[in-house]
């Protein structure tokens, strides 16, 4: 599980790569918390384009990120979701709460 963050003008972009399961999620959650605390962004873009696999552990990560952002008045957009993680997002119904976009608009 790899996580790369970039920040520009109040917008935090977090790119996840690898396999996001329960094993990988713990470290990803810790790094995400650190990035959020440091950046306190108005907008966060979660880029899932590098994911090879995701299960419901990824849903927990996204919901956690969403709640943290809500608490600081920030907004979350999930982008570049590959097919397998998209089926998991669809099954969870999370798309009713969280904005999911096909491609990141710079």
């Amino acid at each position: 599980m790899r996580l790369l963050t970039t920040e520009r003008g109040g917008k935090l972009t977090v790119a996840l790569a690898g396999e996001l399961d329960h094993h990988g999620a713990r470290e990803a959650a810790r790094k995400l918390e650190e990035s959020l605390e440091a950046a306190m962004p108005r907008e966060c873009v979660l880029d899932l384009g590098g994911l090879k696999f995701m299960d419901s552990s990824g849903i927990a990560i996204i919901l956690r990120l969403y709640k943290r952002l809500q608490a600081i008045g920030g907004r979350l957009t999930v982008v570049n979701v590959p097919d397998q993680p998209m089926r998991v997002l669809d099954a969870s119904g999370i798309d009713r709460m969280i904005r999911i976009e096909a491609e990141q608009n710079q």
Partner: protein, 146 residues
Amino acid sequence: MKEQNCVKMEFPSRSVNEGYARAAVGAFAAQLDMTLTELNDVKTAVSEAVTNAIVHGYPEGPGTVTLRLRILEGDTLEVQVKDKGRGIEDVDKAREPLFTTGGEDRSGMGFTIMESFMDSVKVRSKPGSGTAVTMRKRVARRNHAR
């Protein structure tokens, strides 16, 4: 349903083995003519069941998780994930979407995903004795030259 092939493996309830379980089911299911989507659905369901065994079956330390894979007649894959851990007090409650005892780290969507991605999901559990989740998926027939 008549069994055509079967493998059984045991591994300790360490989270690093979640990826192993997915890879194992992927290799075994290759005997069936699955699409990539079907194969990914099975791997996702297995990941959920194995994670449940690790997180909820053995919350206080390592135990043994058993993964049994069977190919049944009629192009059906059966996956059983079994632990001898804590067990589930109320299986119906545990299967409800968003229900979790795992706190913020868990979404409570594990059983919902298993049910969405597999044709059937059966859960047998006894508090103090463990849990067995048995799932089946029939491969859709496709017309192509063999």
